[in-house]
């Protein structure tokens, strides 16, 4: 699914954070690596994609918009993130 700058991504139903940067989903567990966990923590349904990208770029040198978009699109395909 296409994600626009104004979209407000959030975790899908049945998905929540577990201990140690894990994401618990209906079929199992996703282990999140550094920036992935940081992106997902910002997917609260209120921040827009634009805002998330802005915050990520501020915190992580070299992060570009397409990295965030691609990460969210992949998780959307797996039914973990929606907007």
């Amino acid at each position: 699914m296409i994600i626009t700058d104004g979209a407000q991504p959030r975790l899908a139903r049945g998905c929540r954070f577990g201990a140690d940067d894990t994401l618990l989903v209906p079929e199992g567990v996703l282990r999140l690596k550094g920036t992935g966990a940081e992106i997902l923590k910002r997917c609260d349904g209120t921040r827009t994609l634009g805002e998330i990208v802005g915050e990520m770029r501020e915190q992580f040198v070299g992060m570009v918009e397409s990295d965030v978009e691609e990460f969210l699109r992949k998780l959307n395909e797996r039914g973990v993130v929606e907007w």
Partner: protein, 368 residues
């Protein structure tokens, strides 16, 4: 030693308002008096979470028949587990559902036998379709993640397209279409439930078409009929490798059907810690890894992929729990499966005189 298990399967009770002919529970069911207490289950959840287990799947029987089910969901969630409730929906009132949600339930899986009352009742032995529809309606009003489960077999596989449309209309995020697995009560009814090759091929076409269609944001998981496969499934993700099951009486088992294996002994949560049973108990060691394997598994390049398939199926079909799963085309016991398929596929066209077209179904009994 092996990794920690990923999930705990908590069979809270064998009691059930349904009497499904495809039930995979053992023929010998535990009665209410044998069931674990609330405190015993709470301790299991704490031990499981401390071991690093992430998911708890509440099942049965019908887990809602436990008076303490809300308390158990709450305890499991407080221990840090992700809680999934697998239910028939019978007994799921609005009040009970609201309590379960507040207790921290993460996900609910609701089973349906059919969209037609008569067809559903033939399989489940009771008329409960209206109750199930009502349960689905109530679930949709909550924020719970919702999966609809439909078990398919010879009697309904021809209507797969309609079954999927029905399931979609119930409003879940996921649909699980599962072919019957032949253990327990299902094995007793295999000759009535095993689909024909033609049915299986058509069902695969239906699912492939569904994959190409706009997918309405509903995911479909399909559990294939393994008798028609070329290779076995990695049953339970490998014996003692991913899953730990606690039965209603507290026995720790690598899978729900494992009690059929001769000379197997199960330790009990009433005597031993989960961590010890996972790492050391005879039952979990029995077919763990690849040491126990015979040919063709012993030198098979796929041995770390399917782990020799299902041990219970090897026992039930080949009479030897350490043989390769006979559904594997590399197994010298595969002709046993082929002869079953031959009868199944012959019956439709011209049933031999000694084989009735339909055998009486054997309904699951209910423990007191």
């Amino acid at each position: 030693m092996t990794d920690k298990p990923l999930a705990l399967i908590a069979e809270l009770t064998h009691r059930c308002p349904l009497r499904c002919v495809y039930c995979s529970n053992p023929l010998e069911l535990a009665g209410r008096k044998q069931e674990l207490s609330t405190a015993e289950w709470v301790s299991i959840f704490e031990q499981a979470a401390a071991m690093g287990i992430m998911h708890a799947h509440f099942t049965g029987g019908e887990p809602l028949l436990r008076d303490d089910v809300v308390e158990l969901v709450s305890a499991a969630r407080k221990s840090g587990l992700y809680v999934n409730l697998i239910t028939s929906g019978v007994g799921l009132s609005e009040g009970k559902l609201s309590k379960l949600v507040h207790a921290g339930l993460d996900h609910i899986q609701l089973s349906f036998q059919d969209f037609d009352e008569e067809a559903a009742a033939e399989i489940s032995g009771v008329r409960v379709l209206a109750k199930k529809r009502e349960a689905a309606r109530l679930i949709r009003q909550t924020n719970l993640a919702f999966t609809v489960n439909l078990v398919v077999h010879r009697k309904n596989l021809d209507r797969l397209e309609e079954l999927i449309a029905f399931a979609e209309g119930l409003g879940p995020q996921r649909i699980e279409i599962a072919n019957v697995q032949y253990y327990g009560w299902a094995m007793e009814n295999r000759s009535s439930l095993l689909p024909t090759r033609e049915q299986v091929e058509r069902s695969v076409e239906v699912l492939n078409r569904r994959k190409l269609a706009p997918h309405k944001n509903i995911a479909i998981d399909f559990v294939t009929p393994d008798y028609y496969g070329k290779y076995p499934k990695p049953c339970m993700g490998g014996w003692g490798r991913r899953l730990m099951l606690i039965d209603p009486a507290g026995r720790a088992m690598p899978c729900h059907a494992a009690a059929v294996i001769p000379n197997i002994t199960f330790d009990n949560v009433r005597d031993k810690q989960l961590r010890w049973m996972w790492a050391e108990s005879a039952a979990f060691q029995m077919f763990r890894g690849t040491e126990w394997m015979q040919e063709p598994c012993k030198t098979c390049p796929k041995q770390e992929h399917d782990f020799g398939g299902c041990r219970c199926q090897a026992l039930l079909l080949a009479g030897d729990a350490s043989a390769a799963d006979p559904v594997c085309t590399l197994s010298n016991k595969r002709p046993l499966v082929d002869s079953v398929l031959q009868i199944t596929n012959a019956v439709k066209e011209s049933p031999p005189p000694h084989l009735p077209r339909t055998l009486p179904l054997i309904y699951r009994s209910n423990p007191s």
